[in-house]
Symmetry: C2
Subunit: 334 residues, 2 copies
């Protein structure tokens, strides 16, 4: 394997995917700081209103050689910027800073990353994708105007894949579908996926503008659709997609605090960031209207309808891409 810009950028992209959808309305962004070939830090933006990826990466990189610095206790974006601007002392002068998206150039809920980069004067800034957001862009120009070498377009295609949800909600609307299946594709018969997957879905529910769900699921599963695994105080608003208005109001989802529920036979929204949860029937119906499918695959197999498949339990040893497919190595669970 070649250890080059693509390699370091891939690490940044991979780290950012761990927080995909959780950074809304911000993009998922990753950053890596490399000092003369040594990786000092790999970080990602985790949530709106918290420090950007490159700020976390610079902080971690600084602490790598100054572990007792009071910077370790600082979490506020403005304070981290201030500390690094005042105390960098040439620390980053040999560093390459990899960022999956052009550093922001405006002061909003966090200060402009381009200003921080200009202040600490790294050797080079490497960027995967240029920011299409007119409000935040201009970062590259500012860096170049301040004589910092900027290389653009590294791992561009993978960088754009990472930003796909962001691009869509920037355009006005992003609709994604969550489907949980077993390794044989079966979806019936109780909880399918692991606790960690449920928690991730509940985290996403705290971020979305709306949760859409089919009327049949509501009638059959009688769900709650809250975020209890991560935050009991938050619950997404619900749109029940159904021709029939008639629902038993004792179904738990109707009785969650601080939530609006509406019923509609039109799959049409004013909201911008919408998760749909459902099975094959609903996915099939909505295929054309869905931007992204979030497919959770449990390593087990089970079938309620088809006698050819008994309960089979596996553990994932490893998974990797092969061409356009995903290959999963499974070990029988003992």
């Amino acid at each position: 394997m070649v250890i080059d810009d693509d390699f370091y950028m891939s690490l940044a992209i991979q780290e950012a995917w761990n927080y995909q959808l959780l950074t809304y309305p911000n993009p998922a962004v990753g950053s890596v700081v490399v000092d003369n070939g040594q990786i000092l830090s790999i970080q990602a933006h985790k949530e709106a209103n918290t420090p950007h990826a490159e700020v976390l990466a610079l902080k971690e990189a600084y602490l790598k050689k100054n572990p007792k610095s009071k910077l370790a206790q600082i979490t506020d974006s403005f304070e981290i910027h201030k500390f690094l601007k005042e105390n960098h002392n040439g620390y980053f002068s040999n560093c390459d800073i990899y960022v999956t998206l052009e550093p922001c150039n405006h002061i909003g809920r966090t200060p402009a990353c381009s200003d921080l980069l200009v202040a600490i004067k790294p050797k080079r800034v490497i960027i995967s994708v240029v920011d299409p957001n007119i409000n935040a862009s201009g970062g590259i120009k500012k860096l170049q105007d301040n004589s910092i070498q900027v290389d653009i377009g590294v791992c561009k295609s993978k960088g754009e894949d990472l930003l796909y949800p962001f691009f869509k909600y920037l355009e006005g609307k992003f609709i994604f579908f969550k489907l949980a299946t077993r390794a044989n594709g079966s979806i019936d018969g109780g909880y399918i996926t692991s606790k960690e997957s449920l928690e991730y879905v509940h985290k996403i529910r705290t971020k979305i503008d709306l949760l859409a769900i089919g009327g049949n699921t509501v009638r059959c599963d009688r769900p709650t659709l809250d975020c209890r695994f991560v935050d009991k105080s938050k619950s997404p608003n619900i749109m029940i997609y159904s021709r029939n208005n008639n629902f038993d109001k004792n179904i738990p989802l109707f009785n969650v605090k601080n939530r609006k529920v509406y019923i509609s036979n039109k799959f049409d929204f004013n909201e911008n960031f919408i998760m749909v949860e459902g099975g094959y029937n609903l996915l099939n119906l909505l295929y054309d209207k869905i931007d992204m499918l979030l497919l959770f695959i449990s390593p087990n197999m089970k079938s309620l309808n088809n006698d050819e498949i008994r309960d089979m339990k596996y553990e994932i040893l490893h998974s990797q891409r092969v061409g356009s497919d995903q290959l999963i190595f499974l070990q029988k669970k003992l």
Copy 2:
């Protein structure tokens, strides 16, 4: 993310998985060379009778700062060892060498890696799993006897997962099952996976001792089961698992050169490294006898039996582990 021994060892493990099953009868092994924090190389053993992972990693690391060295042209294991022993000139004295398996200590088809490591005197050797193979082990002791610091057990669990096939065939027998499905679990209706997946399966077919297949598949699919996508001259021997001896001998698999075909109603083998190819019926029947499942998942959906699923085409944006599940982010194919 913390940049520590676990991080570097994970890179070695991940690289090795790319050659899983292809290194038989050798184990899949990866190696990373880090010079004072700078990653110089990431390599894996690719195939029996070719250089071991650490040898490839040391070669690539050396070439990183000596790109015009004649070492670039040397591919034979003995010759690489010889060159590095004579020319290292202290090059590796600040290096940490990560290896997923204890370096071998015997001279066989390739020279002993432990001797090479002693000769080039790295700062430290970090090992995930101790070699259980009595013929190859002793590497750690030799390194320690020569005052090289050795750290053992880094990412041990992931290192053992990587070695699972090796452990099994070292014990005498490893049987794995190849299943190709679409994202909805469907397996009927022609080719399912990509060209790259087919090529990988054909590569594996050049390595196995035996390919087992169900009688029904032979009768219905009339397969060839050769390795034509990668090497037309090689073809695995075949065991047809069937109660009925009666097959049309015009089925292509019977007419491939240099191959033995036998039919048996017992799933019982003298061979050591066996791939089974089939669908859910056969997997269900053999679940208890299969050590590992190789599951290729195409990103598309399709159902022949079930009207609720139409043809849906997706591309994988990214995939990652979440708890015990695999999460795949899919974008609708335009």
